[in-house]
């Protein structure tokens, strides 16, 4: 594990040098949230109305939190670099190193989001408090478990994105599959809470990464309950375990294919 800690630390130190560049991304985050604030402002006829059980403030906070995860956890490492390493042949050098390539990518990615995420978190809280107002049912004591949920969500997302990137072992360009995965996550779990869909669809979405990556953590922030928290954490642990197994399985299969092709 120590080698991954070293990779993590070196990437973290490198990213700390570029906080100004990361802060440039605040513009896009601000604009997206501004658009959604205006949209939900329009959708709620009066401030006391409930849509899918959410008040206007809860709905805007929900979108701000899912967007925070979206922006704070985005990185080219899991989406593009892994695919490019395979496509460009760099994988032939990386797989001979004394570490597991998927874990190397995960350690590197963790070093990136551990700088980005706290920055977006601060911006999201500042924006929410000034433009929407405080969350009425939020209790500070729930924060550690919410942070754990957010971290699990980010890792599940990373594992699935690496799985998609590793499709590059078989196809020339895996990036279009990333678009589709991202868009489903964005449209179904990020822009709305899943309660907005019909009962049957809700049950279906609970079995997808959408439930564990964006809906779960954001739901706990805007409307915490112990039962929901346990349900989400259990789903996240199952998803992380299953996703990791799938990731190693695809990698092993892909590497064998790489040997066949000569590397």
């Amino acid at each position: 594990m120590r080698k991954y800690a070293v990779i993590y630390r070196s990437v973290l130190m490198e990213n700390l040098q570029y906080v100004a560049n990361i802060a440039m991304g605040f513009v896009s985050y601000f604009i997206m949230n501004y658009v959604f604030m205006n949209l939900w402002d329009y959708m709620y006829a009066d401030s006391g109305e409930l849509i899918a059980g959410y008040t206007k403030e809860q709905m805007i906070w929900y979108v701000m939190m899912t967007e925070m995860i979206w922006f704070g956890a985005r990185s080219a490492t899991v989406a593009r670099q892994a695919a490019m390493d395979i496509r460009g042949g760099n994988i032939a050098y990386l797989m001979n190193k004394p570490y597991s390539y998927p874990l190397y990518i995960l350690a590197k990615y963790t070093g990136e989001w551990s700088v980005q995420m706290p920055m977006y978190m601060m911006l999201a809280v500042a924006m929410g408090m000034t433009m929407v107002g405080g969350l009425p049912h939020f209790r500070l004591v729930t924060l550690p478990v919410i942070v754990l949920c957010v971290v699990f969500g980010i890792m599940i997302n990373a594992v699935f994105k690496i799985c998609i990137s590793m499709l590059a072992f078989w196809i020339e360009d895996a990036f279009p599959f990333q678009w589709l995965y991202d868009k489903l996550l964005l449209v179904i779990g990020t822009l709305f809470p899943i309660e907005i869909f019909s009962g049957k669809l809700q049950a279906l979405f609970k079995m997808t990464p959408i439930y564990t990556v964006c809906y779960g953590p954001a739901k706990l922030i805007v409307d915490f309950s112990m039962e929901k928290c346990l349900e989400i954490l259990t789903a996240q642990i199952i998803y992380l375990a299953a996703g990791s197994l799938l990731m190693f399985w695809i990698y092993r299969k892909g590497v064998k294919k790489l040997y066949v092709n000569g590397g």
């Binding site: 360009d173 449209v187 822009l191 709305f192």
Partner: protein, 264 residues
């Protein structure tokens, strides 16, 4: 004079043609990129179906009009990335001193920079826009207007990208600012202007040119107004003049990095 213009345009068209042919080297990847981009855009129909399930009109728009808005945004954005993809990364050429390769050619510098690359997936955006328009609100007159506004939208988006990209001639760390400004155009353009008020509305019409590129054309397609049509055409001409002036003013400040580079 006319021969020179004709030659220049011929070179530009050939450049675009070869860019697309280069992208088509791997046909499966090329087609996958286009198809998946169309599916990617179609995912947003879910979003709007849900929103229109909650309210009948959003910002004064019906579902058909929002789809028209989406169609025009996708086709304008797509066409600008098919023909002039390089303008969206023009700051990189300026900062790293890679404009040299364009300066030494006996061609118009801005035109040869603009037409030097293409994005294959943007063909998916362009086609998606046309398909959505035809499915949701087809009529011959509206289709012709749609094609005209796709051209004006493409020109406005491209000119705006040149304007913000050219800031890199004067300021070193503006590249991300420019990228975010162009991206913000897309973020705003896919939501009805009726939901924005006050300062935001002013910004959308006078700072980020979404109003003239997308909103006003959609209003004209829904209810024809010759005055607005003429205003959009005039605005397109003005923003292009501004972009050309700013680019060539900036070019005077450009300094080479003595980078050896060959363009194939």
């Amino acid at each position: 004079m006319s021969t020179a213009v004709k030659n220049q345009l011929r070179v530009c068209l050939l450049s675009v043609k070869y860019n697309i042919m280069r992208e088509m080297v791997n046909k499966v990847t090329f087609l996958t990129n286009i198809l998946f981009m169309m599916l990617n855009n179609a995912a947003f129909i879910i979003q709007w179906s849900i929103l229109f399930g909650l309210r009948e009109d959003i910002g004064g728009y019906s579902m058909k009009e929002v789809m028209l808005l989406w169609g025009l945004t996708a086709s304008s954005f797509g066409l600008s990335h098919i023909l002039f993809a390089r303008v969206f990364t023009i700051h990189e050429l300026i900062i790293s001193g890679k404009l040299d390769a364009y300066l030494v050619q006996p061609k118009n510098v801005l035109l040869s920079v603009m037409t030097s690359s293409t994005t294959a997936s943007a063909i998916g955006d362009f086609l998606y826009g046309i398909v959505v328009m035809c499915i949701f609100s087809f009529s011959v007159r509206r289709f012709l207007l749609f094609l005209l506004f796709t051209v004006t939208g493409t020109l406005i988006i491209t000119a705006f990208a040149i304007l913000v990209g050219s800031l890199s001639f004067w300021f070193v760390r503006t590249e991300m600012f420019g990228v975010h400004m162009v991206n913000s155009m897309i973020s705003f353009a896919t939501y009805p202007d009726g939901i924005f008020h006050g300062t935001a509305r002013f910004l959308l019409y006078y700072v980020i040119p979404v109003g003239m590129a997308i909103y006003q054309p959609v209003h004209v397609m829904v209810k024809f107004d010759g005055g607005i049509l003429f205003r959009v055409l005039k605005y397109t001409l003005c923003i292009w003049l501004a972009a050309v002036i700013v680019f060539y003013r900036g070019l005077r400040r450009y300094s080479s990095s003595n980078l050896m580079e060959a363009r194939m």
